[in-house]
Amino acid sequence: MRARLLLGGLFALLVLAPLGVGAYPLAVLILILHYAYLGIAWNVMMGFAGLLSLGHALYVGLGAYVAAALYASFGVPALIGAIPAAIVATLAGLAIGALGFRFRVNGVYFALLTIAFAEFTRILFDHMEWTGGSSGFFLPVEHGQVSLVALRGPPVLFYYVALGLAAAAFLLARGLMRTRLGYAWLAIREDPEAAAAAGVDVFRARMAAVAVSSALTSLGGVFYAFYYNNMYPEQIFSMARSIEIILAPIIGGMGTLFGPVLGSFVLTLLGEGTTALLEHLGLAAPGAKQVIYGVALLVIVMLKPAGLWPWLAQRLRIGRDG
């Protein structure tokens, strides 16, 4: 009950936020919601099913490129283009998952496999002339156009889309955790062999986790493409991006529902705060924000390896998963 009230309150605050904040805080909020969303998506694989993926940039990139190319070439609006984008990313995820699980590539090796596929794809896109290669792909922008279906409009439109995506992903993850599949994931995460012995179809359950996670992540990519209007393989498929995606859920608490959201708030505010402070002092330099991220990760992993949310939830006396 307490948890629902708090969540409802937070959601209401976020819905009303654009009324009271300026352009810069709104941009920061969009960033927070975007990374919260991606964190929830990644968490389905690692936090729930115990599959360490370090190549989630692959799904962001595929989603972004498919939807962007369909829009630029055929005028397909973002909301329609998101369907093939999600299908392509899910198929890629399922292919990697099928290979990895069939050939028993586990743990850190599985993480390396996901990195290898993401990097492989990055280099392919770097050389794909059709999408601009390494010089990037740009979406045409028409000023004054406002359309939710085409994802064209002012920042506040993107803010509500980001909020909607994050809220929907949160509810989806919460719903899934109460299904048979959700329990199967947890069983596999704790002990795959015991889960198999108890009659869980480990392969199918893992594939389902990959499918949900990659599909959700690709929609984040579609959002990225239409929000920023530009993409470079060097950035969108990079390992640095994959790492950025996993920081929020780790810091907030892997395997918890609210962890990725909390982690994204903490990290983004920390990062933006540091940048603003350094700029104010005239000391701004590339790398400063990331050093702070690294230190935050180090502190959390050393002191609170389960993440911030389980600790905070206990303080607030609400159920572990909120």
Binding site: L112, D126, H127, A240, V291, L298, V301
Partner: protein
Amino acid sequence: MAVYLDILASGVLTGLVYGLMALGLSVIFGVVRVVNFAHGELTVAAMYMAWVLASTLGADPLLTLPVIAAALFAVGYALQRFLVEPFIGRPEHEQFMLLLAVAIIVLNGLLLVFGPDARHVKVDYAYDSFELGPMLLDTVRVYAAAAAIVLAGGLYLFFRFTDLGTAIRACADNLLGAQVVGLDVRRLYALTFGLGCALVGASGTLLVLMRDATPQLAIQLTLMAFIVVIIGGLGSMAGALVGGVLIGVSEALAGFLLTPSLKSLFSYGLLILVLLLRPEGLMGRRA
């Protein structure tokens, strides 16, 4: 035909330095059973050290190598003692995240201090070459490869014939047994981590003779070390060198036959194949 021989030779020589770097990863994993995800970041840190010493004192990297290796040894020793040690026995993904945090801090610390520009170390013999039969070998590569072979050989002798090396191998082969006979495992782990990082220091110093130092190189080198070690087999010393040479040659050939920027495509393709078909590596033992 002669041009292929040159490329092959250059690939082998460069590959030996890759192999030396990967050897560090392999030694740490083989003994401490921790995957050092900050490997490339530390390598690039060593490259910058060599650059600083070369640009301020005019010191040849080949001469500053022992100093940098010693410095990295200290870094590795401290890293194990203060950060990694509490994580021994904790889940694999927590160890991984710890070293990921170290990697992020080192990488961006370098970016913060040195900026994003490439740093180049210039030596007098940069454009010299040896003539060997029909082949032309770059002097820098020959020196670097020779140093890599000497160091790898020294490491082999250390593990094979000294008491300390034998003790470290004992920890790797039978941890419980090692503890029973009274070996100070914590100290040996720290020494091993230091040793692995000393190899990183040495290979970074050699690498700066062949490539410019940039922070962006770090992730590439971490992945390269993983590719080399996984192809050769995690924990196998000879495997690391063979894997390094294989990657060096395939990159050199791909860089010549195709666009240079496509060359790592082959490394990643090879990594995917090896992970799927022989996860224990080409020269590793089946677990």
